[in-house]
């Protein structure tokens, strides 16, 4: 019996690198980057053309401005998560790629975690670009000192945690369909439409303060912690962080289990 000479960590790096190259070699990363530049950059350029006075007239403070721009992050996170995670599992079972990849001497958990790390890295990259654009606008239209640095940093960290949760959810959902394209659509529909409808229905009966099961509910904190302040954010920062963490861990375990059991 020959023992493997490559550690799981080394194979993780190969899986991570392969998936990163996959994103950079296909339209997905560039489409997402284009979306962020178009929305974030477009708004900022539009406002810059009208000048700081116009922006200061529309937004009383930099926190109002930054909070309003960050309202787009929840939508962006879901789109990014769906794009980078919606076909994570189905790609191996909907095409004949699985016959190639899964027959290698690599634990499925390593392949999946490499993919997840790559998806998280590129998603975080996209989110970071959006925050940088927002920050540039905040400094440019107001001042360096007017930027709510602490709230913005915490908001950024929560956005990364949110995207981790959305990715786990997307990875899990991607096992439902064998078609990568359908898996991607299902993720977007579930997160943007179905979950929103459920939130609305449950919210009608129990009030919006108790939607602890919904990652969309948690996403609200990203902007409200900037506009209302960290301690006054709705939902509370710890609550949103906990929801995102539970999504990230819980659905990762689910995705791992499904990927482990799936057959070609």
């Amino acid at each position: 019996m020959t023992q493997p000479t490559v550690s799981d960590a080394e194979q993780f790096k190969v899986a991570l690198g392969t998936q990163l190259r996959s994103y950079l070699s296909t339209y997905r990363f560039w489409a997402m980057l284009g979306l962020v530049l178009a929305v974030g950059g477009g708004i900022t350029i539009f406002l810059a053309i009208h000048g700081p006075a116009y922006v200061q007239h529309r937004f009383a403070t930099s926190t109002d401005y930054i909070g309003a721009i960050l309202g787009f992050v929840a939508f962006l996170t879901i789109i990014v998560g769906a794009f980078f995670g919606g076909d994570a599992i189905s790609t191996d079972f909907g095409t004949k790629t699985g016959y190639y990849v899964l027959a290698q001497p690599v634990k499925r958990s390593i392949i999946l975690s490499g993919r997840y790390a790559a998806a998280l890295l590129v998603s975080a990259g996209i989110i970071t670009v959006f925050y940088v654009i927002t920050l540039i606008g905040g400094i440019g239209f107001f001042s360096f000192g007017a930027v709510p640095w602490e709230a913005l940093a915490l908001s950024y960290l929560l956005a990364i945690l949110l995207v981790a949760g959305v990715l786990s959810f997307a990875f899990c959902l991607s096992s439902i369909s064998r078609s990568p394209a359908i898996g991607l659509v299902i993720t977007i529909v579930v997160l943007l439409i179905a979950l929103d409808i459920v939130d609305g229905i449950v919210g009608t009966f129990v009030g919006t303060a108790d939607l602890w099961f919904s990652i969309l509910y948690a996403a609200d904190t990203i902007s409200t912690m900037v506009t209302l302040g960290i301690s006054a954010a709705v939902p509370a920062v710890w609550e949103s962080a906990a929801i995102c963490a539970v999504y990230a861990v819980g659905f990762s375990i689910g995705a791992y289990y499904l990927y482990q059991r799936e057959e070609t």
Binding site: T18, R21, P105
Partner: protein
């Protein structure tokens, strides 16, 4: 010593049993042909052996390691090609092969040298082209090359020459004949001629059950030819072979120079027929009309062909 073992390997899909208690063990270098019609359970067996599917019952061992318990170690010294797999379409051939080499711990310089060697042997397509832009046959050659990158002691191949043109098939076949001297190869194939040329042992499967597991040599010993094909250097009409009428059941012209003789299967008669035919005209070849494995296949599995050869006993 390379080894492959199945212990009561069973796969059920609801009420349908795709594989029923498959048990075999192969050890040491050599090639095993895995034969059966479509839907017999060949690919299911290979998937279970390589961890692409999970058994409903039973266990599979690669080099003594249970694939269900430790797939990484079990597959470490094993190269596979199952169901015409497709590499990532956005990767070039070089990237595809280097990724597999990295997963398998082949040092980069060694991997590049091996890729170069395999590129020449398998006539790989330009390795800077994306695999998504390659033909099925070109992709299949890349996949076969990737299965050999780490010089595995066990090679599992599912219809390895599927999608290849005749020249490519010959190249792969020759390579397998060379590889089996030091490695254990298990290959499924529809091409009995290919299995006959490459394999030392044949396993026949149908309806999920293994029907025969025997060396090709032993199958040949038990096979009794009833037909021979004879080729003359000049055109010969069946009527010109009146001298062998007492030894044969029928003579059919396959071409102006080639005839098929049904003689009943006695070896004495076979040599006597040749002797008399030589007197009629110059003989270029005199061979059994069917392959040994075709006999066994037809007897065990059927296929609508009759009147050829038969396995004696068993």
């Amino acid at each position: 010593m390379p080894s492959l073992e199945a212990q009561g390997l069973t796969k059920r899909y609801g009420a349908f049993i795709a594989l029923d208690q498959a048990t075999f063990k192969f050890e040491g270098a050599g090639a095993v042909g895995y034969l059966g019609p479509n839907g017999a359970g060949k690919t299911t067996t290979l998937k279970l052996l390589t961890g692409l599917a999970w058994p409903s019952a039973g266990r599979a061992f690669l080099n003594g390691v249970d694939i269900g318990r430790d797939p990484k170690t079990a597959l470490w010294d094993v190269g596979t090609v199952i169901e015409s797999p497709e590499p990532y379409p956005w990767q070039t051939g070089q990237q595809t092969l280097e990724m597999v080499a990295a997963f398998r711990g082949v040092p980069r310089a060694q991997a590049r040298a091996k890729i170069h060697e395999l590129a020449a042997e398998l006539d790989l397509p330009p390795l800077d082209r994306k695999t998504g832009a390659l033909s099925k046959g070109q992709r299949q050659r890349i996949v076969i090359a990737s299965s050999l990158l780490s010089d595995p002691s066990v090679i599992i191949l599912d219809e390895p020459t599927s999608g290849l043109d005749p020249a490519e098939r010959i190249a792969v076949r020759n390579m397998l004949v060379r590889l089996k001297r030091e490695r254990l190869i298990l290959m499924s194939s529809h091409l009995l001629s290919e299995v006959t040329e490459v394999c030392d042992r044949a396993v026949f499967i149908n309806h999920g059950k293994i029907l025969l597991n025997e060396t090709v040599e032993n199958i040949a010993k038990r096979a009794v030819d009833t037909q021979v094909d004879i080729e003359f250097a000049v055109p010969i009409h069946p009527d010109q072979l009146g001298s062998i009428a007492d030894l044969v059941r029928s003579v059919v012209a396959l071409s102006p120079t080639k005839l098929r003789i049904d003689y009943g299967g006695h070896s004495d008669a076979r040599s006597e027929i040749l002797k008399r035919c030589v007197a009629v005209g110059p003989v270029l070849s005199y061979t059994s009309a069917t392959l040994v494995l075709e006999d066994a296949y037809l007897q065990l599995i059927g296929g609508g062909v009759s009147g050829t050869n038969h396995l004696a006993g068993d």
